[in-house]
Amino acid sequence: MKIKAVIAALFAAATGSASVAYADINVGVTLSATGPAASLGIPEKNTFPLMPTTIGGQKINYIVLDDASDTTTAVKNTKKLIAENKVDVIIGSTITPNSLAMVDVAAEAETPMIAMAASARIVDPMDAKRHWVFKTPQNDAQMAIAIVEHMTSNNVKTVAYIGFSDAYGEGWWNEFQKIAEARKLNIVANERFNRADTSVTGQVLKILSAKPDAVLVGGAGTPAALPQKSLKEKGYKGIMYQTHGVANADFLRVCGKDCEGTVLPAGPVLVAAQLPDSNPVKKAALEYVTKYETANGKGSVSTFGAHAWDAGKLLANAVPEALKKAQPGSKEFRKALRDALEGTKNLTGAHGVFNMSPQDHLGFDQRARVMVKIEGGNWKYVQ
């Protein structure tokens, strides 16, 4: 009898707490805190505790799962979040392959999803499925245009490309090649390397024998330092370009003095303190930097965590709108939330200013990127 009573009590408690949870807004998060994309996923994970716990008077529950940079796990997490946790919105994942795979699941369950991965393909071309999907990081194309502009204004005529032999490197190659050809840049070499490679001597020698004015490295995080170090070691003197994927302190630590003078496009949050006061993003970016560094120590901030922060910003802006129309936990609320996200106008995040439209579920303009140069082992804002 006693056991039965206990079970009954537990059951009552469980259902009781569940009914309370229904009134809260549940935000399901899946990110890559382990596996190859861990250096991107960890700062994102650290950002969620900094986000508001109530929006518009409603309690927000963040349910954060790790997908280990694995596509299957990301899909599994998404299904679990929708079926078991009854989430009102999904945030994730960190990388493009995972996010693309999650689009189908989120659209089928009619749950809005905000991706923290870079590829434009996540929200473009707009169709019935992507109707439910938004993203916060800048498109590769925007960044590639910035690089090509910098190249042409610095008299670069010939350029070599060396990128990761995965989706990141291929994506950059496609964007960069298109824009470079349109601007009459001559691409003289196109090489690939693996994140885990211990040597890129072969690729580097081939690039050197093509004698390019500039080299673009299409890699993310510290592995992108390897080709640059090898090029310097073999005496390359031209301009080096990196992508915004390297924008964290570990890259500077590993690359050291070999990366002096490297140019890259990045989100404004990377050089928040150096931005002119007239820049509309400065205040929002500094707010994130201060919050993150207070919680995780000085110099720990990276641009990747700010993508998660911006997802939170979008939510904080959209939730009060949606609450006017429906109660959290319902199908109507998810639809209202989606509509509110799409209606985001002039919202300043840490990475830029969002102006969404039915056709554009990112909503960034050129205010979302700055050119940055590595000087004296630090990021330096270039006008």
Binding site: I42, R192, T198, Q203, A225, L226, V254
Partner: protein, 344 residues
């Protein structure tokens, strides 16, 4: 491709090949003695390199806690067995070896700041932290199932690999590290510039291979290992303990792995999961040697290094494909050339 490029690529290939050769030898050794296909071999490379990098950054490496934790686990098991068998006099030596030594090491690292020590001392300290993990892993994971089939041993080996990768991420974080070069010397040979560090890698590998040869040919422990590799039952009848042989082979494998890690960390950035791919290439070398012949395995590993280097020049996008496809003709050739012997 002119001669200079060919020479530079060759030099790069031999340098990488030398490291693969060391790992191939370790894999052959472990397989011959214990029948374990030792997938975590590469983790010792990463642990060795990253432990050294942590010491140089003035941090206490996570491997120290792993060593303490595993030491305590091994000591508890051994003490329980001693109590059961009433060999109480063994307890002090068990505790001293598995827990005492790591504690002294930890204490020493707390007292002196590791970043200020000279490089050779840092290297020795890193090896002291990583190498004992080898026999401890054998004691915890493989000794209880030493008589199991090759397949079961392989599955456990995969489990150990996944566990160590996870611990590596936890200890060292997702980003890689590089250590400063042992030497800044460089030589001009013709037009090609030869880095002192790459020469050091090749020389150190050759010396280590020579030392292994001496160990197997001239010392009683080396001969015992060879005997166990040839015939386990026969060796046991001659009084060679299979457990000691297993532990010894794992110690050597850990030493070779950690030492390779220390060697390559100034040339390349090492990540918590870099070891796997390096170990896998050593494995291709070992397969060329049929997991039995040391010289062929070493030669095979050098071949892998050269192939990798030249294919990265000609077709960088397909480099790994080319390297790992090499294994298919080799397996074909081996299976056509050798008589298949059923496992006992």
């Amino acid at each position: 491709m002119d001669l200079q490029i060919a020479l530079l690529l060759g030099q790069d290939g031999v340098t990488n090949g030398a490291v693969y050769a060391l790992l191939a030898l370790a894999l052959v050794l472990v397989f011959a003695v214990t029948r374990v296909i030792f997938i975590p071999q590469g983790e010792f490379v990463a642990f060795g390199a990253l432990t050294l990098a942590s010491l140089q950054a003035g941090k206490l490496p996570g491997t120290l806690w792993l060593l303490l934790g595993m030491g305590i686990a091994v000591a508890l098991i051994e003490i329980a067995i001693s109590v059961r068998d009433r060999h109480l006099q063994r307890i002090p030596s068990i505790a001293l070896l598995n827990v005492g030594v790591p504690l002294v090491l930890a204490g020493a690292l707390f007292v002196v700041s590791p970043a200020t020590l000279p490089l050779p001392v840092q290297v020795v300290l890193s090896l002291m932290m990583v190498v004992p993990l080898g026999p401890m892993i054998y004691r915890l994971a493989f000794q209880p199932i030493a008589e199991a089939s090759v397949l079961v041993l392989l599955i456990v080996s995969v489990a150990v690999h996944v566990t160590l990768i996870g611990l590596g991420l936890f200890f060292f974080g997702a980003e890689g590290s590089r250590t400063p070069a042992f030497t800044d010397m460089s030589f001009e040979i013709g037009d090609a510039l030869l880095q002192g560090q790459t020469v050091l890698v090749v020389v150190a590998s050759v010396v280590l291979i020579g030392a292994l040869f001496f160990f197997f040919e001239r010392t009683i422990y080396g001969k015992a290992l060879r005997a166990t590799a040839m015939n386990r039952t026969g060796a046991r009848l001659m009084g060679i303990s299979a457990t000691v042989a297993g532990k010894l082979s794992f110690t050597l494998a850990a030493l070779i792995g950690a030492f390779s890690g220390v060697l390559i960390s100034p040339i390349t950035t090492v990540y918590y999961d870099s070891g796997f791919l390096i170990g896998l290439k050593g494995f291709v070398g070992a397969i060329i040697g049929g997991l039995a012949s040391y010289p062929v395995a070493a030669a095979g590993a050098i071949l892998v290094g050269l192939l990798e280097s030249y294919s990265s020049f000609w077709a960088s996008a397909f480099k790994e494909v080319i390297v790992f496809t090499l294994i298919i003709p080799v397996l074909l050739w081996r299976s056509l050339n050798t008589r298949h012997v059923e496992e006992e």
